[in-house]
Symmetry: C2
Subunit: 479 residues, 2 copies
Amino acid sequence: MDMPSPDQTVLAKKAHIVARLRAVLPLDAVIEDEIETRAYECDALTAYRCPPLAAVLPSSTAEVAAVLKICHEENVPVVPRGAGTSLAGGALPTADSVILGVARMNDVLETDYENRLVRVQTGRTNLSVSGAVEENDFFYAPDPSSQLACAIAGNIAMNSGGAHCLKYGVTTNNLLGVTMVMMDGEIVEIGGGHLDAGGLDLLGVICGSEGQLGVVTEATLRILRKPEGARPVLIGFDDNQVAGTCVSDIIKAGILPVAIEFMDRPCIRATEAFAGAGYPDCEALLIIEVEGSEQEIEVQLDRIVAIARRHNPVEIRESGSAEESAKIWLGRKSAFGAMGQINDYMCLDGTIPVSQLPYVLRRISEMSKEYGLDVGNVFHAGDGNMHPLILFDANKPGDLELCEDFGADILRLCVEVGGCLTGEHGVGIEKRDLMLDQYAPEDLEIQMAVKDVFDPKWLLNPAKVFPLAASHARRSVSH
Amino acid sequence: MDMPSPDQTVLAKKAHIVARLRAVLPLDAVIEDEIETRAYECDALTAYRCPPLAAVLPSSTAEVAAVLKICHEENVPVVPRGAGTSLAGGALPTADSVILGVARMNDVLETDYENRLVRVQTGRTNLSVSGAVEENDFFYAPDPSSQLACAIAGNIAMNSGGAHCLKYGVTTNNLLGVTMVMMDGEIVEIGGGHLDAGGLDLLGVICGSEGQLGVVTEATLRILRKPEGARPVLIGFDDNQVAGTCVSDIIKAGILPVAIEFMDRPCIRATEAFAGAGYPDCEALLIIEVEGSEQEIEVQLDRIVAIARRHNPVEIRESGSAEESAKIWLGRKSAFGAMGQINDYMCLDGTIPVSQLPYVLRRISEMSKEYGLDVGNVFHAGDGNMHPLILFDANKPGDLELCEDFGADILRLCVEVGGCLTGEHGVGIEKRDLMLDQYAPEDLEIQMAVKDVFDPKWLLNPAKVFPLAASHARRSVSH
């Protein structure tokens, strides 16, 4: 008998895995056809694509456990996937991996107003969590720009934030407990509807772990009562750094608006052309929203406007109605789409101490000249979560690579001023090698040793988060 | 030459360790005299005592690192100690261990209002963190009853809360970063003055880890602007369970007071006799505090009072002045001391979902009759953190043991209704074996494997947190 060719070996292996998966899942929950698996070949970082071996769409924690048990036995890597809106390649497949999509797991399992929590399957979209409790005037606070599409699973994996997180915190501050399936198929419950944990609190390390530790299938989330009212004010400046200084002065004064959003001229112009939000044409714009009772709103806005006036704003415009408020936010929420209409861009995600805003904005502008690539800035200024958009021309040879180098330099700058490589998009594949700029080898070693505990074979979401060489080495040792 | 007796071996070993410690610390920072080490023989769980081999009082992170490196090389266990106010034996020495006290490390390293943070050495007391920023009208939110004495190191170790944590969260919600020394002397920086972390976020698992993972020497803490005003209201009921139902109705309505404190008749009477706070003589008392502008305070209190009236309160008394407010809080803050004046008591610390308050109060009262031991309840009702005080007579043979059994049953009840063994006192030695009631062996295995990563020899704070048999087994394997 002839030796099978390598291709035949791969096909035989695939057929074997798929047969085992079909034995534990409904017919339509296992996708192996090459055309259909293309739907899973990338996430929102579309520059990188790779179809997986297969994709599965389980409907329950028990099905997820069955899938993982099989993949663990067969040494097949698994890439968990929420809604695929990740911007850093966190859900990018490898050719030998099974994509585990949680999209069919979108039930509300429990709404509990007495304990101010809701329990959902993690395939549920962010916005529909609030939807499930809004009739009682409650909401779920973290609000990523992609909230209409993104899944709670991905929010937990990336520790997602959003415009209103300055006051309410990011996912980790609103997550009370999870049901998680480990790579060997074991189901664990961590946290829950009560304060604190006995022994080591593992919930914090699971939140933001980008699918490295397990597949989170159910989540208990804190819900909050909707505020009585809310009102944004637009403040325009003729200088980026002055706008940055104004933000840090507001924080320093101890005022805590719900949101402080920042946009610079390239973003303002693109947004105006796209959404017609009526933004003034200036160098930098702050959108600051406060909430509470009418009187409380007025007191806070008065203090904010008083601080802003010391920085010679070119425009101060308080929203006068619900329509005006909606229009102001529509502009901000359209900014990424608007930029995409006129340019190819790469969206970065770094965090810095708020006091460093003016310096970092100046350095980005200098680096923009050095690299010869324009940058638009639109981000959550209040908590120092920056999203510089580097504009490039995908059809110009070498432009993408130049853009990637520039991006890496901006993220190194964030680390240099005491910040971090990522706010809410995760490390993914995009920033795995930059982790060496953030962490000493000993620090990374601790993180990887914690991964060893949960996933000793290093099968979960391979080649992400940790420097590629380090995670390859780890994987080889474990096999 | 004769073989040395066991005592001589211990003494020689002690002399050797002490000599090495003296080589890296100032003269007065190493305590070996038996009389002096008695000061460290227990924490606030005084029923358990054991003098350590020696105690050290380093003044810097570098000195802590030097101490740990020596103890690691010599296989000497180390028990970290904040101010020794722990109520669950978290800082209890073993006879072969060195106590590492952080009391001399109490500097403010940085106050940074632009980034709303303060960086301190962890020996600093909780209240003096607020003290360092109060001239600018900021404060540090977590406020344990022991805040005058307890150290930030212990707050981090136990993830401490306090009366005002319903609104502001507990330590983990207000901790941004730490400098931590690992058992082998390596110094790591985790988190900092920026949002989020790249890769695995280890800060959450360090907070509340009861000194199992490392010695935290410096902490970056979130500070908040003081509210414009605050006002408590006292509401009395003639039934415990009705008071519990009132609490869960307030939470369900989406109102978020700063504090909802609960006291029952035994505590009210003891407190009145002790502090003369003018509390009404009734079955159960809620102290509910709201804050904000004058109008905001009124709106919130009106809603709370309306809910309370539906439960037929026997008294509703809004504070009319700063003096009255101080008196109301003085009573609550004196409750533990007051109970101590009239009884021996054991103070428990369990958390439950708030909706379970009425049921759990009823069960505790039934169990009180079964055991023949009285119970006083004074606790943070808003976030379900219960502190039942079981009264016993230390001079009556068998009463302490009966009390411990009763306590264990109450904590099992907390777990049974979906809660947790500990809110803010930690597991310590008190509840280590009850961990088996909270966690499945596989879940504990994960926690212990995480400890392996940070402290492979199991030298840090031995015999705490994990079931004694399991942690002994772990330690034997590692040596």
